[in-house]
């Protein structure tokens, strides 16, 4: 009830301010170059919400308050134009194509749009031209290198895989560290919802070609209005909308192929002769007798003549295809955007692919002068085949390394070999070709996503918006293992079925108020809103075993034995009140503030509601009189912000003291008090400070943005140990703290601009420093990391490799950090805190060259300062697991006294831990990658006019074409996920596509 009163009283006090006299202005908008009329241009009164659009013939008529000072004309793909309307009744305007003046842009921000001059926060916009037609399955993958401060990492080359995004460092230890995604105003569920698929990505159902823009919000001023979910940053996605005017049809089509990208020679495997030689040498080195050597070598098929190149057998040239058709248009009452998309990607590894069919319909209708309604609706179906990952025998990449080159993939009659007898066959591990052919590991995700919205202009400066959004998906995972070979053999064939349904709705209502004072010198923009969200997830998992002895059937019904039936769910709800306000004095001084009250089912009953806020200020120096004479400065702005927001990415029910069922006994249901809970448990607190500068020089030919941030997170969820004698060993509490600080630079310059040639060059740079500042439970090793106050969260905890003894070939390690003495005993070497899995800096170089109708785009992505760990080096280097193949780097092993090398003597079944985790298998993660290179040709206007097309373009694009690494010992590509851990995933692919797009 309080809320209703609050909204109503807002309404009343705002209504009182609003009445004034009006006048009407008419005119026409044309294209500056061709002189053709531009329909659908949006025309608004500067500093208000008032506006209209131009008609079919470019003409417009607008009734405005008589004290209005200027009109702003904006049109997609054209620069904004601002015209004074004091003592003017008619106005003809011509717009020129291009980016427009940077600092005058209107950008999508939280719960609306904002003129760039009024923005006090740190945010970066990525436009559709940088998102469309990229051979990646989801928009999060495309963001890599596009935004300073945003780290986007591919942990695997599986098409459709999860992408890890971290904005301004890692801000949590036990809770989520991924940003909040908001699509067309609706906060959506992201991440991997699968339970039996190696990797999936909820965002892969969104066709990147349907995206108009992405805004990445980074600091308090930009994000705090998202309250308890803002701490890891917020990414706003806006889909394409129709424009009034001529109906247009656009076709984007590309085909191509993908193959293995960077695959270091040292990480390739040995052929039969090399591997057999190594094995024999290893046996000699451990003093085996000739009889023992012969016995083992014969077992391995020394004379079989088999020499299998498993890498070659499990890799392929994968197909790549995209087709997108869209239609858009409308009149001054109704506009539409309609699209259909098809996307197919095959990994360069067998049994790994992705397909998406998608359709989008965005409609807006001007119901009356004051009332608009609209809908955004998108449906997609994703089909993905994903082999098992990591050390699973069914993983084809595992097979490349763990199968011997003397194992025979085929029988003499050419059929696939699945014999389990003898070491030239498959006594334990699997023939990956048979698995790829006869097993099925697939996922289908049907996603329906969209919103209906309505906007009512209550008064000329007061607007009410209501939006009901739905994010629904339905995921079915099917894993069939045949009864003859592989994972299903022991069970006589097996099928696992996992069903996931997520229904997430968000209902948002807001009132926007904008009013000028002091004769428009001071503009007040205020908004207040209410939002409720509920997300419900339902899961069903079932498994059956014992299939008929045939490969023809895999329907669960024909299997004999039910083995598993699980049904469960997971829900959460948020309820929020929010408000923001900005005060803009003559576009010189801008002050903003935001507030949000968030309640969530994830927070303990004692701390259910939190309050989050921000304040920000900006000073547009270019608007000052003393700057007006400095002609080379087009725009200059200093901004700063500070605030408080939270990370509510907690377990759904973690706070509840719970008595859980499922502890069944003797066929009867049983339950126990197994979750102590914590009724005080709540969001992690984040306090970001940001200061930044935006500069545009020489008529916008040079643009520079620099930001410094310092975000302190506290109340981090950590386990507080309890005496086990009370019945629980610990409870989660909000006790830890961490700090991330860094610098971001974005630079772009039009280095050359002549009639025929333009060259735009730029770069972005991000640096982040992470430090744990409070760990009340004390420091502790956590896997290969060490968590300690004052240290980077991802610091490695590792023994230092000291090389190989030239006399004996034994591995050496330093005893301690002083590196004074070495030892041959692995456990005698102390582990030290070393480097980090997080890069010190990363970013990209971008260039666009345009010569007449040709264009060349290329982007380099770089990442420096981290180390990457090989999880499987223990088995794949040296003789710890002599039955597996070895990395080619073993070819430079120590062989005789005097050999100087960093690879120890090869010993069969060696137990000296030579290949166990040490700095020997921790490599420099530095790399520079030519992420994207595109050569395009734009069909000239003269030809287009003749054939009646509006535009046409051909291109050839190379993706991940070239990679430079900086550690010659690397056995894999160093882009290995946030944790920098190589885990036999599908390798990164390099894609080449040929495309064309045209519009008529």
């Amino acid at each position: 009830m309080m809320r209703k009163l609050f909204l109503l009283s807002w309404l009343c006090c705002i209504a009182a301010i609003a009445m004034a006299q009006t006048k009407t202005i008419t005119g026409k908008v044309t294209d500056q170059k061709t002189g053709t009329p531009l329909p659908g241009v949006s025309i608004s009164v500067k500093g208000t919400q008032l506006g209209t659009t131009s008609k079919e013939d470019g003409s417009f008529s607008i009734t405005i308050p008589s004290d209005s000072r200027a009109l702003v004309f904006s049109y997609l793909g054209y620069g904004d134009e601002e015209r004074s309307i004091e003592r003017v009744n008619s106005l003809n305007v011509s717009l020129s194509e291009g980016e427009g003046r940077k600092l005058d842009e209107v950008v999508v921000v939280a719960y609306g749009t904002q003129q760039k001059k009024e923005i006090t926060g740190a945010s970066t916009v990525v436009k559709s031209k940088d998102i469309a037609n990229i051979p990646r399955t989801s928009v999060d993958q495309i963001l890599q290198g596009k935004v300073a401060g945003l780290q986007s990492i591919t942990p695997t080359g599986q098409p459709g895989a999860i992408q890890q995004i971290r904005i301004r460092g890692i801000g949590s230890i036990t809770a989520g560290a991924a940003p909040l995604w908001v699509v067309d105003g609706v906060p959506v569920n992201t991440g991997d919802f699968s339970r039996n698929t190696t990797t999936t990505n909820a965002l892969s159902g969104l066709n990147p070609n349907d995206i108009e823009s992405v805004t990445v919000l980074k600091d308090a001023s930009a994000t705090s209005i998202y309250g308890s979910r803002a701490a890891n940053g917020v990414i706003l996605v806006t889909t394409k909308k129709g424009k009034a005017g001529k109906s247009r049809i656009r076709v984007d089509s590309e085909v191509g192929f993908s193959e293995l990208a960077n695959y270091p020679d040292n990480g390739k495997v040995l052929n039969a002769a090399q591997w057999l030689e190594l094995t024999r040498e290893g046996l000699v080195n451990v003093g085996a007798t000739q009889a023992q050597i012969d016995n083992i070598m014969n077992g391995y098929g020394v004379n079989s003549g088999v020499d299998t190149d498993w890498l070659d057998l499990v890799t392929r040239r994968g197909g790549q295809q995209q087709l997108n058709v869209s239609a858009s248009g409308g009149n001054d009452k109704t506009t539409y955007f309609l699209s259909l998309g098809y996307f197919k990607q095959e990994a360069p590894v067998i049994a790994s692919d992705f397909k998406r069919y998608s359709g989008t319909l965005n409609l807006t209708n001007k119901f009356s002068e004051r009332f608009n309604i609209g809908t955004n609706l998108s449906i997609s179906s994703v089909n993905q085949h994903t082999p098992s990952g990591g050390g699973a025998f069914a993983n084809p990449i595992d097979a490349v390394y763990f199968l011997r080159p003397t194992q025979n993939p085929y029988n003499s009659d050419g059929t696939l070999n699945i014999s389990r007898v003898g070491n030239v066959n498959f006594p334990a591990d699997y023939n990956p070709l048979y698995i790829a052919e006869n097993d099925d590991k697939s996922m289908n995700n049907l996603k329906i996503f969209g919103n209906i919205n309505a906007e009512l202009k209550l008064l000329k400066n007061l607007r009410f918006t209501s939006r009901y959004g739905v994010d629904y998906f339905n995921m079915v995972e099917n894993v069939y293992n045949n009864p003859f070979h592989g994972d299903g053999r022991n069970a006589g064939g097996r099928i696992a079925f996992n069903y996931t349904k997520v229904f997430n709705w968000v209902f948002t209502n807001q009132l926007n108020f904008r009013q000028g004072f002091l004769g428009e010198d001071l503009i007040l923009d205020a908004m207040v809103g209410y939002e409720a969200q509920e997300s419900k997830e339902k899961n069903v998992d079932a498994r059956k075993e014992g299939f008929p002895p045939t490969l023809e059937l895999n329907a669960p019904t024909v299997a004999a034995t039910p083995a598993l039936f699980i049904g469960v769910g997971a829900d959460f709800a948020f309820e929020s009140l929010f408000s923001n306000m900005s005060l803009n004095y003559k576009n010189k001084y801008v002050l903003t503030g935001s507030f949000r009250r968030d309640g969530s089912s994830r927070f303990g009953i004692n701390n259910r509601y939190g309050h989050f806020w921000s304040v920000g200020a900006a000073w547009n120096l270019d608007q000052e009189e003393f700057m007006k004479n400095i002609s080379f400065i087009s725009a200059a702005k200093i901004r700063g912000s500070y605030g408080v927001n939270g990370n509510g990415d907690l377990a759904n029910y973690g706070w509840r003291p719970a008595f859980s069922y499922g502890f069944n006994y003797n066929g009867q249901p049983g339950g126990t008090f197994n979750q102590i809970g914590n009724i005080d448990l709540t969001w992690e607190l984040n306090k970001p400070f940001n200061i930044g500068v935006d500069l545009a020089l020489f008529n916008n030919r040079i643009n520079l943005t620099v930001d410094y941030y310092n975000r302190k997170t506290s109340d981090l969820l950590l386990n507080r140990p309890l005496p086990p004698s009370i019945g629980f060993t610990g409870t989660l509490q909000n006790v830890g703290a961490m700090k991330n600080s860094g610098i971001e630079v974005t630079f772009e310059a039009t280095a050359v601009r002549t009639r025929n040639l333009t060259w735009v060059t730029g770069f972005n740079f991000s640096n982040n420093k992470n430090k744990i500042t409070r760990l009340p439970g004390g420091e502790f090793p956590d896997g290969s990391f060490y968590r300690k106050e004052g240290k980077d969260f991802q610091s490695f905890y590792v023994r230092q490799f000291a090389g190989v003894d030239p006399q004996t070939g034994d591995p050496l390690w330093y005893v301690d950090a002083t590196k004074q003495t070495t030892t041959k005993i692995y456990t005698d070497a102390q582990r030290i805190i070393y480097s980090s899995a997080s890069p010190k800096y990363f970013g990209s170089f971008n260039n666009t060259l345009t010569y007449k109708d040709f264009s060349l785009d290329f982007q380099f992505y770089y990442n420096f300062g981290n180390h990457v760990r090989d999880q499987w080096a223990g088995s794949l280097l040296d003789g710890q697991l002599p039955s597996a193949n070895k990395y080619a780097i073993n070819l430079r092993r120590w062989q005789k006294p005097g050999d100087i090398t960093d690879v120890p003597k090869y010993q069969y079944n060696v137990v000296n831990s030579s290949s166990s985790f040490s700095t020997r298998v921790l490599y420099k993660g530095d790399f520079i990658r030519l992420r994207n290179i595109t050569l395009g040709y734009r069909v000239p206007q003269s030809i287009l006019n003749r054939i009646g097309f509006a535009s046409g373009q051909f291109y050839v694009r190379g993706f991940n074409f070239f990679t430079k690494t900086f550690d010659e010992r690397l056995t894999f590509d160093p882009e290995t996920g946030v944790q920098s851990l190589a885990n036999l995933t599908i390798p990164l692919s390099r894609t080449i596509t040929f495309g064309l797009n045209f519009e008529f």
């Binding site: 502890f663 197994n674 004698s725």
Partner: protein, 466 residues
């Protein structure tokens, strides 16, 4: 136009949003603990939950029975092993050793759950009182069992020092508690009180998978045996043997009795076992799997134990000769279902044990005739060619203890016999050289209070030597 606004406004405040309890989201697999046990049926489900937790591999599912044989002279670990329990085999336990931590944590978790049932306020009703009392009795017995094993593993033997420091006694849940250790006498008093109450509450017999009043009585006999209170041990054991209705398994049925993985209702031999069925079991962490050569096969029977068996002793069938790591060894096949779908149940109490307690009690009370009677009741059933012991005096005691060793082998009893009798353990040449003779002053005979407890509870004290 304003009517549109009011429609929207109405919608905005009515749909879902202001619904009371909008933020209360209940999990799908759990209920709030405060209201978990309101009815007798819910009480029964909670009792099932405690049985299920007793089954855990960190306590009775594997660790407790393994340590009970391994740390004595029945079992040793092959040099070819999976790395499990080598610390116990080597007698090198420290405060951070996982197994004592697992026993401590696991048993106190059992106590926490049993407390919830014992303290549950279920209204009296003539329709449900019998079931309620039965469930409460089962929970009391399980709590007593947990305290008894905590006292046996983490404190000095009662027979050595009844007033020694014991373990914390917690009778209800308090998340802020920092409990200190009570005296051993207090702990045993609590155990006996629980068992007396349990005996008087329980009236039902379901199957061998559930506790009955005579299981409580049998456990009482075992507790008195460990206290050296022989007349009470005799009375309790005699009550079970005379009145419980359980019978001993015959020689011809002995092997198939052990092969059976399912609970029984015929009251033959098994008084109480933890059910491990096809759906709920410990998988490769089962007790059977660590003995099974087709599983880990780490645990091997000592030659000294094998040599106690005559050729006609039916129990000799459980020693399977084999070769492991180049050595001739005896695998143990008492648990045969390590790789089956339905796993071996964990025997918690068999009538044979109670009969042998009775024999020992009569011996201690100087009634050798009855001691021999009950000793031979077991011995002649296991070896049909054997005519029975005729020994007297200390030889009779030795025969009783040896018969216990054979009958209860691989069930975790042997080490506790050494403890309560305060005897030097001679583990034989198959044990690691440094841990062959375990004198009574070896501090590792008593497990350390785990580091996790010491870290979080300043009130707790450590055992000597750690």
């Amino acid at each position: 136009m304003n009517k549109i606004f009011f429609v929207l406004f109405f919608l905005s405040v009515s749909i879902g949003a202001c619904k009371k309890g909008f933020l209360d989201r209940e999990p799908y697999t759990a209920v709030p603990v405060a209201t978990a046990i309101k009815t007798v049926e819910e009480m029964g489900a909670a009792v099932n939950g405690v049985y299920a937790s007793l089954r855990g591999a960190g306590i009775y599912g594997r660790t407790i029975p393994i340590m009970g044989d391994l740390m004595a002279d029945n079992v040793y670990i092959s040099t070819q092993n999976s790395g499990r329990y080598t610390v116990q085999n080597n007698y090198s336990t420290t405060v951070v050793t996982a197994e004592p931590d697992g026993i401590w944590t696991g048993l106190y978790s059992v106590i926490k759950n049993a407390n919830l049932i014992i303290n549950a306020d279920i209204p009296a009703s003539p329709l449900t009182d019998v079931a309620r009392d039965q469930f409460r009795g089962e929970a009391l017995t399980m709590r007593a069992w947990a305290y008894f094993d905590l006292a046996r593993w983490f404190a000095k033997p009662f027979t050595v020092d009844a007033n020694a420091i014991g373990v914390p006694i917690l009778l209800d849940f308090d998340q802020n508690a920092k409990p200190s250790r009570e005296s051993l006498a207090d702990v045993y008093a609590r155990i006996l009180a629980d068992l007396n109450q349990a005996f008087s509450l329980m009236t039902q017999t379901k199957s061998s998978a559930y506790i009955t009043k005579y299981v409580a009585r049998g456990l009482q006999a075992r507790v008195y045996q460990h206290m050296g209170d022989w007349s009470k041990a005799r009375d309790a054991a005699l009550d079970v043997v005379t009145n419980s209705g359980f019978t001993l398994v015959t020689a011809s049925g002995y092997v198939s009795y052990w092969r059976n993985p399912a609970p029984l209702t015929n009251k033959v031999e098994t008084m109480f076992e933890l059910s491990l069925d096809a759906a709920n079991n410990n998988g490769t962490n089962a007790l059977a799997y660590i003995y099974d050569p087709a599983g880990y096969g780490d645990m091997l029977a000592t030659t000294s134990l094998f040599n106690l068996h005559t050729a006609t002793d039916v129990r000799r069938n459980f020693f399977v000769p084999g070769t492991r790591a180049g050595q001739s060894v005896f695998y143990v096949s008492k648990y045969a279902n390590g790789n089956s779908v339905d796993k071996d149940d964990v025997k918690m109490m068999r009538l044979s044990e109670i009969v042998l307690i009775l024999a020992e009690a009569y011996y201690r009370l100087a009634d050798e005739t009855n001691a021999r009677l009950y000793l031979n009741m077991i011995a002649t059933r296991r070896d049909p060619s054997f005519t029975g012991y005729t020994s007297t005096g200390t030889q009779l005691l030795e025969d009783i203890l040896n018969e216990r060793r054979k009958e209860l082998a691989f069930e975790g009893f042997r080490f506790q016999d050494f403890q309560r009798l305060n005897l030097v353990i001679d583990r034989g040449a198959q044990a690691p050289a440094a841990a062959r003779t375990i004198t009574t002053d070896n501090h590792r005979r008593i497990q350390p209070i785990p580091q996790s407890e010491l870290d979080a509870n300043p009130e707790i004290g450590q055992n000597a030597g750690y």
